[in-house]
Structures are given as C-alpha cells and as structure tokens.
C-alpha cells in the first residue's frame, strides 16, 4: 500500500509533546458541570471557576490505552468495515445545508436528501452516508428526521448529525429500534457513528458534551472532531494548528473514555481548514486540507487510533475546480492513511451536496484507491515467463495471463471518457458533468435500496411522529 509521510517521526514527536503541554498548562474549557466533575474525579485538575480542565499527560495516556485501536463499522446488510491505523480507508458523503443543481442551490428538501441517499447507496466506492440539514424540517427535529430519511434510503453505515441533546437520545432510540428488529445491538452491529466538534480554540460546549454523554454506554463509535481554522481559530502555521488540534482531540478522547471506558473513538484532525486570507472563508479544497488530514492520520497511528478526514471543494458548482480539489485533497488524505474520509458529493466548502458530484467522486475515489494499492511485486507479477514467451510478438492482449490479471491490475471507470474523438462525438460528445447527470438520473430510476424491515420502519416512523407531535405541541 502506498503511504505518504507528511511529517517525520521527530516532527510528530515535537508536536505531540507541545500538545501535551497545552493540555497540562493551558487547559480546555468544559461547559458541562457533570462532565467537569467526572474529569476531576478521573485525575484532571479543574480551575477555581470550574470552567477549565487541565489534563495531566498520565491521565491522557491512561485513557488512550482504553480506546480500541480497531473499530468495526457496519452496514445494515451486515457488511463490516474495519477502521484501524494502517488499515483500509473508506469514503463517506458529507454534511451540508443546500442542494446544488447546475449553478443554482436551494435549501435541501426531504426529497433531495432521499435522492442523495439513494445515489450514495448505489455507489461502490462510498461506504457511509452523513446526515444533512433539511431546510423544510422544523428546528428541533432536523437531526432525527434526517436520520429517518437515511435509514429509509440507504443500508450503508450512517453518521447522523446531532443538533440537540434530545436529538441525540431520539437517534439512539431509532437506531436501537432498527437493530432490535435485526436481532442485533450497537455492539454486535454498529450501524451508526456519532460525534461532535470542538469549538476551537480549546472549548467543549454543552451541546457537544451532551451529544457524547447521551450516546455513551452502548458501544456506539464516537468521532472526536478537532476542527481548526488555521489563521482564525488556530495558529496560521500548520504545525501550530496541529499542536492545538491534537490537544483538542485528546481532550475529547479523555472525555469519552470517562463517559464510557473502552468506547470506540475515531481521532479526527482532518476536518481542519486554513482561512483564505482574501475572503475570510475556511477552505476545504486547499492543499493544506490534504496536509492536515494526512498529518492527522499519522498522529492517530502514533496513538493507535483510527482516523478520519474530510475532502471537499470550495467551488460553487460541479466543475474542474470541484474535481481537482476533491482529487488532490482526497488522494493526499488517503495516502496519508486516513481511515474514513468524508465529503463525497460535497460542494461549496461543505455547504452543498450534489448528486452529480457524488457520482463523479465515486470515479475519483476508485482511481485514488488504485493509486493507494500501489504496485504489487511478487514472482507471478514479474511475469518473466510471459516476457520469454512473447519475446517476438506483441500479443499480450490475448494471453491467459492478461485475462487472469487485468481486472485486478487496472482501474476501470464507468464515466470518464477514453474514446477517441470520433467515437466520443458519435456518443453525443458529453462532458463528464453531463455524463454524471445522466448517470444520477439512471440510478434514481433503477436503484432500489435495501428496505428497512417493515416492523423497524413502523417503529422508526412512530418514534419520529411522537417526537414531532411533542415538539409541535
């Protein structure tokens, strides 16, 4: 497997040492009295105002040792993805507010998200669905309504968004209902991951802490996202940002291990951005996003934890920019060893999703996986016998050796054009964007996601109805 080293061992050691100093000397604000007390009981030091926690490195290391380094993430069909340092990588879709069609966007409707889930469900190189913010759903219900849409339209691994403590509890209730009908539980078949993001610099807000707290105790994997903006909420130097990002992520690890010893945790420095110094926008498709994601994966390896990152584009529509940014950032994160990489179908710095972009991203990720796989060298692949046999004839094409190996050795694509101009013109002279639009339409017409068990569906809808009524009343 091809791997990319972004920072050498010595550099990573210095950064981690600095992160431990931040945890010990600067501390982290913890906006939750209950968790604050639990952290103090676990050996951390709280300040007099009872707002800031200082994390001794002994406590951090002790809690890190409780984290499993291998995490199972399941689909509803029972497929398992193993996320572990040095292990395989998986792409997920990405969170968003708007639905992009051509050069227009609008707030995501339930039907838009249904279509998006179905598209992602059909694409082989995208393994997980991330929730979005559905515009037409009332505040207070957005998280669990979106989760119901995900459950109905994809059997892949799901990452619901949590917008409120109550939303966290409702999502757990819904997922539990589905698992119960499957004869499984969260530990035997972890179909969801939850998570929250630190408020950089160095603050865990109550909502995030409640999201961890209310989902603790079941074995549900938690993603600890340390999302910095270099130059705005973190130092502009990437090394400085990584010092802060590590400190924040480590504090989240300790919090989760205090809440549930042994909880599977995903170490995430890979949502970090740099601030564009002309527009004041946090970037998502910049080269630095690739570097930060890959560096985050390296730190996760050092800490024996699985990692995640996010590849996106700052482009406002499906175009060359959206493709090159996604490919560059995604490839660097993949080769850096990030286990889970969000962002399939995302546009506009993660504000939008696009069906066409998801279809194109599937092609990009397929190609990226091929690069990651590298060149396998063994006796058979050296093909010496073939070379002797074909010494004076160039008909490798018809050999059994080619037949046997070509599918594994060569990446194949569904949409990219490799035809000569005349053939391409006869086929309608379509650009990749046009091909993606056609492909998305075809998928929506033909793809049937594996349905939820009827009883599970009934239960999930009943939970949704009950809570919508409560909120409405």
């Amino acid at each position: 497997m091809v791997t990319l080293s972004i920072i050498d061992d010595e550099g990573r050691k210095r950064i981690l040492e600095a992160s431990f100093r931040v945890l010990e000397e600067t501390g982290v604000q913890v906006d939750h009295p209950g968790i604050f007390e639990k952290l103090c009981e676990a050996g951390c030091r709280g300040d007099e105002e009872r707002t800031r926690i200082f994390f001794p490195r002994g406590v951090v290391k002790e809690k890190l040792a409780l984290c499993p380094s291998k995490i199972v993430l399941a689909s509803r069909k029972g497929d398992q993805m193993i996320a572990e340092p040095g292990g395989p990588s998986f792409f997920y879709s990405g969170d968003a507010l708007n639905f992009s069609r051509g050069k227009e966007t609008r707030p995501i409707t339930e039907n838009d998200f249904r279509d998006f889930c179905r598209i992602v469900d059909s694409l082989p190189f995208i393994q997980g669905v991330v929730s979005v913010n559905i515009g037409e759903v009332p505040p207070g219900a957005k998280d669990f309504v979106a989760f119901r849409v995900m459950l109905e339209n994809s059997s892949k691994h799901l990452k619901p968004n949590i917008f409120s403590p109550q939303g966290a509890s409702i999502i757990v209730e819904m997922a539990h209902a589905v698992l119960e009908e499957m004869g499984e539980d969260f530990r035997s078949c972890p179909i969801i991951t939850v998570g929250h993001t630190v408020c950089s610099p160095l603050r865990w807000i109550k909502e995030g802490l409640e999201a961890f707290s209310r989902t603790a105790g079941y074995g549900i994997p938690a993603q600890i996202a340390s999302e910095c903006i270099a130059g705005a909420t973190a130092p502009v130097t990437l090394a400085g940002t990584l010092v802060l990002a590590n400190a924040q992520a480590l504090s989240g690890i300790v919090i989760n291990q205090v809440l549930e010893p042994g909880r599977p945790c995903i170490y995430n420095l890979g949502f970090s951005h740099v601030m564009d110094m002309r527009t004041a926008e946090p970037t998502t498709g910049a080269p630095e996003n690739g570097l930060l994601g890959a560096a985050g994966a390296a730190f996760a390896r050092d800490l024996h934890l699985p990692s995640s990152a996010w590849t996106c584009s700052d482009s406002a529509c499906v175009d060359s920019q959206s493709a090159f940014e996604r490919a560059l950032v995604g490839l660097v994160q993949l080769l850096g060893g990030a286990n889970i990489i969000w962002g399939a179908g995302n546009l506009e710095s993660t504000r939008a999703i696009s069906l066409e972009q998801a279809v194109i991203d599937n092609e990009i990720f397929g190609a990226a996986f091929r690069i990651q796989r590298g060149i396998e060298v063994n006796e058979e692949n050296l093909a010496l016998d073939q070379i002797h046999e074909m010494a004076s004839q160039a008909n490798y094409l018809s050999s059994d050796f080619t037949l046997e190996h070509f599918r594994k050795e060569l990446a194949t694509f569904k949409l990219v054009n490799r035809y000569r101009r005349s053939v391409w013109e006869r086929g309608g002279a379509h650009s990749l964007e046009e091909m993606a639009t056609q492909e998305a339409e075809k998928i929506l017409k033909n793809w049937k996601p594996e349905c939820l068990h009827s009883k599970a569906l009934e239960k999930v809808r009943a939970i949704e109805k009950r809570w919508l009524e409560k909120l409405g009343g």
Binding site: N133, P139, K142, F163, C199, A232, T233, M275
Partner: protein, 214 residues
Amino acid sequence: MITSLIEQLKLSVIEGRIAEAPKITQKAIEAGIDLQQIVDQGLIVAMDRIGERFTSGDLFIPEMLLSARTMESSMNVLRPLIVGSQIKPKAVVVFGTVEGDVHDIGKNLVIMMMEGAGFEVHDLGVNVAPERFCEAVELRKPTLCCMSALLSTTQDAMGKTIDFFEKRGIRGQVKFMVGGAAITESFAVEIGAEGYGPDAPSAVLKAKELLAGC
C-alpha cells in the same frame, strides 16, 4: 511641511508601521495641522488606498487589519483633542450569536475585522437571548446590532430578536445586521434586518454603509 507629515502618516498606515504612526500624528498636531485635515487627507486616504489594494487582490486580510490597527493608533492620539469637533466618534456595535446557536467562528472573524476597521464592538458571545441583546443595546447605545447564526435551525431566533425589540418599543434605536452560513439576503429582508453580510469583509463594508446613513 504639512504635505510631508501627512504623506508620512499616510504611508505609515498603508505600510502598517504601527509604532511610527502615533509619533507622526503627534508631530503633525504640534506643527499645527488641522485635525480634520490629518484625518481626511492622511488616515482616510490611506485606508481608501488599502481598500482598493485589498479589492484588487494585492493585499490580504491580516495586512488590511494591520493597517486598520495602525490607523487606530493614530486616532488614539487624535481622539482626546477632537471632542466637540466635527470628527465622528467610534461607531459602537453589539454583536452576538443568536439563542440556541453556539457557533462563534464567523462572528469572531467579523468582530476582528470590524475592530480593525475602527468600530467599538461589544461581543455578547454565543447563545444570546433576545433579552440580552436588548439589555446590551440599552446599555451601550450602539448604532448597529449584529446577529450571527450558523444553522438554519437557529436562524429563526434572529427574527424573534427583532420582534422582541419591536415589542419593547426600542426597534428604532438600532439597525440590525445578520449573517452566517445559513443566512441569505432574502431571509434578512424577510425578518426586517437592515443589513446582511455574506462573508466577513462584505459584512464590514455593509456596516460602514449602514453607518454612513446614520
């Protein structure tokens, strides 16, 4: 002499020489140059030049902020002398992330840039209830009340805050500006806010535009 000192002050602001600007300002005052002339021909011309260079892409935000801080260091020397003069005092702004929303990255960026542009900003923090916006407006007497929200789940709190001001009978005391990832110009119009900024630099420009009309 006059031209030379004003020219030096202008250059010090453009180049962000923050230690030098107050000294040149002091010299200009001692040389008897009209205060209004120092502001208009020195500082404002310098900041206009900075604005043009930022718009054309030659300068980046940190450099613009440095120039703004340099201008402010000069204004700190001038301000005690201009009480009662025609020169406008600092514009006051109160700023907060609305109730139910705890995201503050966007808010903090805009505040940073507003302060750089010479505004006096009172940051109310995150999850700010309408009552707290009201209290701050009554206490600080700002010209602008800015509200930020990341989520479409929390944007409704902006309209509620403005309604709260109406009910208290103090809506006319302040202009509202809104912004954040989920906010659009049409939403701002819908809830009756006077201003909307799609990003931090635009928010500062819009704030200046609103203040010019005061």
